[in-house]
Amino acid sequence: MNRSPSLAFALLILAAALQAAFLFRKDRKADPASPWLLLAAALLLLGTSVVRSFRIGFPALTGTFESLVFYAALVALTAFAYRLQRRLPRMPLVGFGATIVAAALVAVASSPIAPKEALAPVPALRSGWLVLHVAFTFVGEAFFVASFVAALAQLAAKDEAKRADYDRVTYTAVAAGYPIFTSGALVFGAIWAEQAWGAWWTWDPKETWALVTWLVYTLYLHLRFTKKRKGRLPAIVAVIGFLCTVFTFFGVNYLMSGLHSYG
């Protein structure tokens, strides 16, 4: 199972290459294999999480490597689900972009900046609320990956109809991810903090950045509500929102200290 992330990475790269090859076809047909490669990669990554969970006797979500592996699995699953769904316009670039993000997350997980040692959690992290906090936050952020790629494509698209399709994908991904992210990052996070330290909120840098991310997506939803599909501003805000999630994870972990500095 130690080689699972490497194998998953190879599958993701293969899926991305296949999708890239089909991006340039004129008949706009999607490749038939990449969804299953994405699913296989996601299952391998989830398998890694399950094995580590048994090894440490607790859901493996408390370390940087474990979080990245779980997050990458969810992004791959989101890309897989997007390819199979029939309610939204299927834009090949969205699936491709999400696959690249999933592969990048696995690459970072495998790099020296993420320690690989399977360590059981310290007392403050041994909480069911923490598991909900982390799991829901990453599920929400996996949808934000799709919204980020769709928003970037929307900003780059020259065709009005394509822009409208990308806008619809961006909005649906944010609409799905926002309540899940809010529940995980803010509601379950606050309940866990109260149980562990007796304070709902301490303005720790990670908490503040989670709130900033939430405010940015709140801003997106309100802008989208008032502007409907007009203008580039909502798409720009959706891109900023995702960049905030990236900084909340990497920037705060590596550049700032606080209650969350363990992972």
Binding site: R87, V122, P123, A124, R126, A175, A196, T208, V212, L215
Partner: protein
């Protein structure tokens, strides 16, 4: 009046305030919060340091830079909620109360946060087994037993403080295990397991059968002498003590277990576990919890409805 009402119910105001709070909150994470003016003066150019301190940015989340926009946001949210709710109630069909519930939950959350912020009390104690501390509002909390479980590699797995509360009939507790993430709730107070520490303890035998177990800073008096335990040394194998008699200022000695100092003999030098407990009274506890749950429920109703609205 109409203008004021339309100002407070404006979506544009909501957008401006959300954008401001996001941007200012971001900047605040890059400026160390709650430091002394000298700290900023040593780190930033003079003008910027003065700006950070004088504007209140050095304590952003307690300053008017945050509180005033947050208050305006609350007023805006309340006005929009009332207006939206009355409009929805007037509808004959396709009523959507998800956003109302979400906004109402956020309003409750803000009220709970203000209660929490303004009336919160907290205190921290470190107790050894057998120690007791008086609880605010009456009652005595005693640490009956402390257990420190470790993983095989020595890292902490769990800290458990078994406590009892006596002296207040309304808050009597027998053998309650407080663990991290498992506080003891006693009326308006909650007691949390937040840390673990160890301290050296010196067992001393004195003249005339006197004996004492001294923590750092404690002293034993016997036969006209006193022995003050100043602390452990040499990795815990030696102790620094101060021997005094009535005549002089005293003299310090480095001693080990089994050695004598004046009329005293050091029996053992050991370490004991200390449990770090935090007591918190949070008047906003229930209000915040209810606000969080209502906001979460409102959010799900809103977005499940929106996703259902999408047609293939």
């Amino acid at each position: 009046m109409r203008k004021l009402l339309s100002f407070f119910t404006s979506m544009r105001l909501a957008i401006v305030l959300i954008a401001y709070l996001a941007l200012a909150g971001t900047l605040a994470t890059f400026v160390p919060q709650g430091e002394e003016p000298a700290f900023y003066a040593s780190r930033y150019p003079r003008l910027l340091a003065a700006l950070v301190v004088d504007s209140g940015f050095s304590g952003f989340f307690r300053s008017w830079l945050f509180i005033l926009p947050a208050f305006l946001f609350f007023a805006n949210l309340s006005a929009c909620t009332i207006r939206r709710l009355s409009r929805e109630i007037g509808k004959k069909e396709r009523r959507r109360h998800g956003p109302d519930l979400l906004h109402f939950g956020l309003m409750i959350l803000v009220v709970g946060s203000i209660l929490s912020f303004s009336g919160r009390e907290e205190g921290f104690v470190r107790l050894a087994e057998g120690d007791a501390v008086e609880l605010p509002g009456g009652g005595l909390l005693r640490l009956e037993r402390f257990e420190h479980e470790r993983y095989a590699d020595g890292r902490p797995l769990e800290w458990t403080s078994e406590v009892s509360v006596s002296g207040d009939a309304a808050r009597k507790v027998e053998a309650y295990p407080i663990r991290v993430n498992h506080p003891l709730r006693l009326g308006r107070y909650a007691v949390y397991q937040v840390s673990h520490d160890v301290e050296p303890v010196l067992a001393v035998l004195g003249p005339g059968g006197a004996a004492g177990s001294l923590a750092r800073g404690e002293e034993l008096e016997a036969g006209g002498f006193s022995l003050l335990f100043l602390g452990a040394e040499d990795g815990g194998t030696g102790a620094l003590v101060l021997l005094k008699d009535a005549a002089g200022p005293g003299k310090s000695f480095r001693v080990a277990a089994g050695e004598a100092v004046g009329p005293f003999r050091i029996a053992t030098l050991a370490v004991r576990d200390l449990s770090g407990l935090k007591a918190v009274a949070d008047p906003g506890y229930l209000v915040v919890l209810v606000g969080l749950l209502i906001a979460a429920a409102g959010m799900f109703f809103t977005f499940i409805r929106k996703i259902k609205d999408f047609r293939p």
